[in-house]
Symmetry: C2
Subunit: 122 residues, 2 copies
DNA sequence: ACAATGAAACTACAGATGTAGTCACTGACG
DNA sequence: CGTCAGTGACTACATCTGTAGTTTCATTGT
């Protein structure tokens, strides 16, 4: 049921998740610092997101204010589960194991994660 | 530099990663148990993968034998890094934290990961 | 030698995606 | 009051993806 968000759209969402509501121009100003896109491109992405009801629009005089309609957390949960399911058979352990073996985990990372897990077991 | 592999193509790759080389028909036989695709669809996917040099072809008389040219591990590393970079700022901890908060981690999962980390620190 | 079979090659086609351009309208400015 | 700049709406268009169908060629059994 969760609407699909493409990579390009995701960059726009990140801006809105950081602060909202924003006008299209404000969003574009932020996005352009990351991606080399034109204002029109950002507007198109906002329209598509609005069409999918992933962002909401609120009229403000001549322009619109855009706000996310889905929580970043919910989105992350969805894509994370999907990712782990597709690539690691739904188990997180193999993912962590893989990252570790690929040297994507520093000693500090490991310490941080251990502490986090200790907290969780409270 | 790592060639993009689409979702559908990935399903085909999983079969080849399990066993290779295989003929197109053999691959399709496996894939069809998971996805409800026609033989032609699987052949198309194999062709696209071959065009991208993600699988290699070896003539065997009248037909071809297909084998993966990229290691599953390398592929996983690439997509995992990309995933963690895009969604969690490149840090694994927030990912684990997120999964934990979203109740995607069972107590068993946590124990397993802890043990894994302990091993790693050796 | 010929017809049926099976496999690769080529073609198809709609929907999603990335990346804009252009049009029309409206309020602000001179 | 006429012009311009900002804004949303609509249009564009090449690729990529998912999902096949059709054509062609070689092989194999009769």
């Amino acid at each position: 049921m969760t609407e699909r968000i493409s990579d390009a759209e995701h960059a726009v969402m990140e801006v809105l998740w950081k602060r909202a509501p924003l006008t299209a121009t404000e969003v574009a100003d932020q996005v352009v610092q990351q991606k080399d896109w034109s204002l029109q491109t950002v507007k198109t992405l906002l329209s598509r997101l609005a069409a999918k009801a992933v962002v909401g629009t609120e009229r403000d005089g001549r322009r619109f204010l855009y706000s996310p309609l889905v929580e970043r957390d919910d989105y992350l949960t969805g894509v994370s589960r999907n990712f782990v399911d597709r690539l690691f058979g739904g188990k997180v352990m193999p993912l962590v194991a893989h990252l570790a073996e690929a040297d994507e985990l520093s000693a500090d990372d490991i310490r941080e994660i251990e502490e986090l897990l200790r907290e969780l077991k409270k």
